[in-house]
Symmetry: C2
Subunit: 410 residues, 2 copies
């Protein structure tokens, strides 16, 4: 298989844009990527489009990619529509990489796009709730309503409000956070540290939905979503789109003097495991390190799936940035903050940049692209040469249904 | 890139199975494919799942593949969910082929699955209606309601009933049928001949939804759907699933003594064209013939997208089975009927076998697999060595949003 390079990216600002259509958002991202790569749209040979909720939010259940691309005058080429919940567009990126790596096509466009806001706010939360086995979720919810037993006995709590006043996923994250506190000694303050770091990073990113300098107390005193998570510890409802252009590494210099190389593109899914077997993120990271020939210590900058603040600490451990139970010490040390040795989520991450779920994967790649090219402005990691993205999607039996890890270098 | 072979297939009977779940249907197809390939599920290295309407029919908007595969104990591997309307699973097949052809994985499972029946029959038609630009469709419908002008002036008619009492697509097909009658001299009797042929073929296929020996008069006297289409000229609402196992051609004999080789896997989409430029089907066929190194005259058996009977005649011309305007003569001659030189839709096609839209592409591949291995029972085409599948999906600006052509040989 051939080596692959990213030669252009584009993305919208993330935020709540009730008045903007998916065509409008995706159009801006695609035009940005074409401009960044310095090519005309006629050069695109294949397009892979990731989206998760258009069917539920806009009614465009099918051929979502074709609908937005034809609006831009892009047609004739193969268009793949792919969905993997919050990992929809890292899956699109992976398929774009595969098309180029295989030798079948030379110029691939990958797009992640999501319009998640809806006039009826409950609709957004309900849409996200489709990222589980819905038959199972209905059964769990019915049992929870009937028996009112302690949530730990049957997994997620589905307390009043789950799936309507907030994403059902925050109830999952709350359970995992409490378990993580028990096994690692992490405190609510540690989760607040993650949120404060990412909001600070977001304040340096013009495309981020939120950002600012907050104290630990500010975060802890914010409204509670579900114990132990306060609102700034949770990724928001967002709209946005991101796009990238992939070509063979051997041809990259035809497009740009500063290509970013894809060193590994790994996608896995959850499975039934024994107690001591590695989880889905560890498995994806292991494969990615092996394929890229780099280890966690060599990473200069990372974008990871901080859908909630505790998740980021767990991911530190799963990616091998630190040992088991050492996540709290790592965040306290400043190691993952801008200025530290391995900054994580310099874009603001899902918490501050925003989380338009089907756009997140490609948006992570955009941030790494800018960082490795030295184009990240006020949030630049000096001398960054190697970057990693980690993006999870959906949930079945307590594990991510899809987990993608990509490693990039210059 | 490597050559790829199909070493096992499985499919359910197609029909209306209100009581069966998507998990149940997909499970039967996947187990059938594994049994056919003689392998355990643990051998699968990647899975690509095509589906179009689960979000609208069952509420499973996301991670549809993971949900059905975990039920079968399949996890850990990459799972790609893909949608391209009625071409969803030929797109899945194409991606499975790409994974193996690229060298990334050696054993790919591809699945097409659809549960289209719903207690509220209108829901099924509305679901199919999402395979266009829905924003555009709403505007067209609004204009049609307001102005009540002649349908030809603005394309499809959207007469009373479209999208509720029947799929909106039958209104498109009716317009195309009338245009085709004008340019080729085709008659309603010719369309009835297609339906009668496919229903006869369906009567020989135990997995077909419908079948029987009907006269031209039977077909013409059936209830009208929309002029000139009577009910047996239109593909029905169906449920079903199909699956296939793909491996490198070089390893095929490890799995079976009768591999079927994929000679070409082509996917394209509609684009804006001049009056004399080839359409999307001609373009896909041209690329497929070129990549496979075979021409239309060498095909022994074909499965094509007869969503309506007139479409089959148009496809004869687009695939080069005959010249322009010669579709009516070809069907009258018996050339495409079992016993003729190039039987088309021996399975019964979409009209008789049924059209569970996201399952259709892989189901077409199943029929060609059985035909080329000499396992098609009463509908066997003697000595068939080369087969083709053609599968279209969705519609934008009067053309298929996705069009896949595959060529197979033994």
């Amino acid at each position: 298989m051939r080596d692959v390079a990213v030669v252009g990216v584009g993305m919208t600002k993330f935020g709540k844009f009730l008045e903007r259509s998916l065509k409008d958002l995706a159009g801006e991202a695609v035009r940005g990527a074409l401009e960044s790569a310095g090519i005309d749209k006629s050069r695109i040979e294949v397009a892979v489009v990731g989206n998760a909720t258009a069917g539920l939010i806009t009614g465009q259940e099918m051929i979502r990619g074709q609908v937005v691309l034809r609006e831009l005058g892009i047609g004739g080429i193969p268009v793949i529509n792919t969905e993997n919940a919050c990992a929809s567009s890292s899956t699109a990126f992976h398929l774009g990489w595969l098309y180029v790596a295989s030798g079948l096509y030379d110029v691939a466009l990958v797009v992640g796009m999501e319009k998640l806001t809806h006039e009826d706010k409950r609709r957004s939360f309900q849409a996200i709730g489709a990222a589980v086995d819905v038959e199972w979720a209905q059964q769990v919810a019915a049992r929870a309503r009937e028996a009112r037993k302690a949530e730990e006995e049957r997994g997620p709590s589905f307390q009043e409000g789950a799936g309507e006043k907030r994403s059902m996923f925050m109830d999952f994250y709350a359970v995992w956070a409490r378990r993580y506190m028990e096994r690692s000694g992490a405190t609510k303050e540690d989760f607040a540290r993650v949120a404060a770091k990412n909001l600070y990073h977001g304040s340096l990113n013009p495309k981020a939905q939120y950002g600012g300098e907050y104290t630990i107390e500010d975060i802890l005193n914010a409204p509670l979503v579900v114990e132990p998570l306060t609102r700034p510890m949770c990724s928001p409802i967002s709209d946005g789109a991101a796009a990238a252009i992939l070509v063979p590494a051997s041809r990259a210099r035809e497009f740009t003097s500063k290509p970013v190389f894809v060193r590994a593109s790994v996608l896995v899914s959850g499975r039934d495991r024994g107690q001591d077997e590695p989880g889905v993120t560890e498995e994806a990271a292991r494969l990615a390190y092996e394929r890229a020939g780099v280890g966690p210590k060599e990473l200069d900058v990372l974008e990871v799936h901080d859908a909630s603040a505790p998740a980021e600490l767990i991911i530190y451990e799963e990616l091998g940035l630190c040992g088991q139970g050492e996540g709290p010490a790592l965040i306290r040390s400043g190691h993952t903050r801008l200025g530290g040795r391995q900054p994580v989520n310099t874009s603001g991450g899902l918490i501050a940049k925003g989380h338009p779920i089907g756009a997140t994967g490609v948006a992570q790649a955009c941030e790494i692209f800018w960082q490795l090219r030295g184009e990240a402005g006020d949030r630049q990691v000096e001398g960054a040469k190697v970057g990693l993205t980690e993006n999870g999607g959906g949930m079945i039996r307590g594990e991510a249904a899809a987990l993608a890890v990509h490693i990039f270098s210059v």
